[in-house]
């Protein structure tokens, strides 16, 4: 298969304008453009729909309020009252991933959440933040997080390394989950789109129908992955407050 037609070509980054800063290439690319669109969509939507501040909301205002309540509920369910302080961060994270995924569902639009470096950076921010939070809340006692009470003593040499590894692999699992889902979904869509063109006569309608169905599924996954990202962040914040 020629590189030009590769299903992975959609993930290639094209600079829109070349910028260099201190020897680093920080070009504004199609990925940055997708982020810009995402941020604009979120900020404009949340600002304009609530601009009237009506007690009886319009439908658009209701959407903003539902999103607000959705994440607020998520935080209070998982973290409790402590969670209120992290609401702006979790909300921003959820909206950024959600709208990033949704913008990626627009044909010919770049999906920045399909890049491991982006998802890993987001996951790393969560991981580092939560770890710092754990040390702030518990000091050195935070290390008891790796000690599971109520287990026979001879199991600890086995369990503590497992706990440490599972803790350290959190940012990897968090970022790879989102990245892999986006990558697989978009690749699959592209592969089937290739079938639509290459199949003879009218048989191309079958992969086309599959693409339509798959697009619906991908929109669901786009939401689901944003939700998973947000809920795992909440759970990690909760862990930073409540050790075992």
């Amino acid at each position: 298969m020629a590189a030009k037609d590769s299903p992975l070509k959609q993930f290639e980054i094209d600079p829109i304008s070349n910028i260099e800063l201190g020897g680093y290439n920080i070009s504004f690319t199609n990925s940055s453009f997708a982020m810009l669109i995402t941020v604009l969509v979120i900020t404009l939507f949340l600002t304009l729909t609530v601009s009237t501040r009506s007690i009886i909301p319009s439908r658009m205002q209701l959407i903003s309020e539902l999103m607000y309540n959705f994440i607020a509920q998520l935080l209070s369910d998982t973290v409790g009252d402590n969670g209120k302080r992290y609401f702006p961060f979790v909300f921003s994270l959820f909206m950024f991933v959600l709208i990033g995924n949704m913008v990626g569902m627009i044909p010919y639009q770049f999906t920045f959440t399909s890049h491991i470096i982006v998802t890993f950076a987001l996951a790393a921010v969560v991981f580092i933040g939560v770890t710092i939070l754990g040390f702030i809340n518990h000091g050195i006692k935070f290390f008891t997080f790796f000690y599971i009470p109520g287990v026979p003593f001879y199991m600890h040499p086995l369990l503590i390394p497992i706990e440490v590894i599972s803790y350290l692999s959190r940012p990897i699992s968090l970022s790879v989950r989102l990245f892999a889902n986006m990558l697989a979904g978009h690749t699959l869509l592209k592969v089937f789109a290739g079938f639509v063109v290459s199949m003879p006569f009218f048989t191309g309608v079958f992969p086309l129908a599959f693409i339509v169905a798959l697009t619906g599924l991908e929109i669901l996954i786009a939401f689901l992955q944003a939700y998973v990202f947000a809920i795992l962040t909440c759970l990690y914040i909760n862990d930073a407050y409540h050790l075992h």
Binding site: L21, I26, F28, E65, S92, M95, A121
Partner: protein, 163 residues
């Protein structure tokens, strides 16, 4: 795989940091407080309406209680009035009946007295008539002049057989 090409890693990270920081600060400082204000305002309005509804309900209950009290009071008063009126009427009737009875008794006794009196008068007249008739008859038949006293004596002695 383009994802693993490090050529644009720095660019990606840089713009991610720029846009995500902007988004975070904007949402934290502008959008979320606005939505929170709206939600709070609505909650306040709902609470206010609920409390005023509760207040109104309490007032309504109070008024209802007052009405019921007044109705009960009015009922009691009415009962009292009815009883009083019945009593007064009964007294009135009985006093009128007794005064009527007295009147009637008096009239009856008056009438009895009159009857007795007229009877006495009649008896006296009868005596006189008897005396006169006897005098006339005896005088015509025998030419004897009888004195009234003598005649009266005879009549008195005979009277027992008249009565």
């Amino acid at each position: 795989m383009p994802q693993l090409n490090p050529e644009f890693f720095v660019s990606q990270l840089f713009w991610l940091a720029v846009f995500f920081t902007f988004l975070f600060v904007f949402l934290w400082r502008v959008s979320l407080p606005r939505i929170a204000t709206v939600l709070e305002k609505r909650q306040n309005k709902i609470d206010e309406n609920l409390s005023s509804a509760k207040e109104l309900q309490e007032q309504a209950m109070e008024i209802e209680k007052k009405i019921n009290d007044q109705i009960n009071k009015a009922k009691l008063e009415t009962d009292e009035k009815i009883k009083e009126t019945i009593n007064a009427l009964q007294e009135n009737v009985s006093s009128q009946l007794s005064s009527l009875d007295k009147d009637l008794e008096k009239k009856v006794s008056d009438a009895e007295k009159e009857i007795l009196k007229s009877k006495d008068d009649q008896m006296k007249n009868i005596n006189n008539e008897i005396v006169n008739i006897t005098k006339l008859t005896v005088g015509k038949i025998t030419d004897i002049e009888l004195s009234d006293n003598e005649l009266n004596k005879v009549i008195e002695t005979q009277k027992g057989s008249f009565n």
